[in-house]
Subunit: 207 residues, 2 copies
Amino acid sequence: MARPRSFDPDYVLHAAERQFRTSGYNGTSVDDISAATGLGRGSLYAAFDGKHGVLLQAMAGYFARLGQFAPKALAGPDEGALERLHAYLLRAVHGVPLAADVPPAPDRAAAACFAAKMALEIGASDSEVKRLANDCFSVLATAVADCVRAAQRNGDIDPDADPDDLAYLLLTIIRGTDVVGAYGHSPARLTSIAESAFALLPRPRHH
Amino acid sequence: MARPRSFDPDYVLHAAERQFRTSGYNGTSVDDISAATGLGRGSLYAAFDGKHGVLLQAMAGYFARLGQFAPKALAGPDEGALERLHAYLLRAVHGVPLAADVPPAPDRAAAACFAAKMALEIGASDSEVKRLANDCFSVLATAVADCVRAAQRNGDIDPDADPDDLAYLLLTIIRGTDVVGAYGHSPARLTSIAESAFALLPRPRHH
DNA sequence: TAGGTTTCTGACTGTTCAGTCCATAACGGT
DNA sequence: ACCGTTATGGACTGAACAGTCAGAAACCTA
């Protein structure tokens, strides 16, 4: 009955996310988004309500992806919980690939958590961005804490440790590697930091 | 012989740093800097070579402040080293006050490490900023590692632990709290993260 | 194949931006 | 008191910006 849109909204949001990651929010113009996505200005405004709308929807998509990926990577039987935590930590400090249909980020600073990067840049003056970033953190914290509890049940982590505190600490470390990575440190160094953190996890006292 | 400048360069750089912290680099205009510092555009360009020059010199000043403060807070006799590390960690996760003559940052995101914030926003496309931020990190890493070594000599930290690895990890945690703080988490939560990290430091095995 | 509806494209507008420039002001030496 | 020198502040410029809009195009139904 009417002309269908000729683009895939997910692809567009991924491409826009990549642009925001690379140049920051204030560093990307609508023309940049237009060039990165192939959409004209009119389409961008009609479909996403302009630059800020694109950001919010891109962050919402990122949140949805996190909510799928993190529980999948961390949930499972108690026996493998500690190893899943280990693998997740090592993978997270090197940044997560964006999507199969969009080229990877060129710089480690662009591979940082999208929500974290936007929150640091404009979260102070944009409460919606701040809230979305906090949501991303919460979903991760829940998944990690659940995995810690599983490892505790399996006797791999000290049962006296608070799983929520530990989850917050681990996620804080992962966020910290985003920053350290942006300084230009090598992937090997980030791996080393992650391994040090993992080695310090409180093991159960055997008697 | 000639007209003397009527402003204090350090005050101007502090005020500009505050503005950059609050709005980010791309989010602050030269007029914003002009308003924050009281200087006209001509003076800004003559003394600091424009927006980018102001940033570089503000970061250099920040680096110099770090190079003074961190060693002073962390150096000292071996007996108190662990407690100095503890105090430094707790203070760092709440952000450092800027300067006595400039109002404090209004938001936790603006209290994050100045170098880290700029590196995440524009470090990927500005190698000078990236290098300066890395310098800031290095001077802190050295000071923290020295303090860890002192604590090891005093028998408060496992002598088998690598002090440099531990220093990197602790600084990564501090940088991570900058991000988590930007999400809007309470100071109490940040304190809790810092205490959890401190509690996990490897203590010497007594036999 | 014609009509109705929505998307698409790119030109347009007013604003804001970074950077330059110049007339004026403030000083120290003579 | 004068003069050379440097700082100051604001006007100016061309470019880039976000957002709007109207005409052309594509599609489905009938």
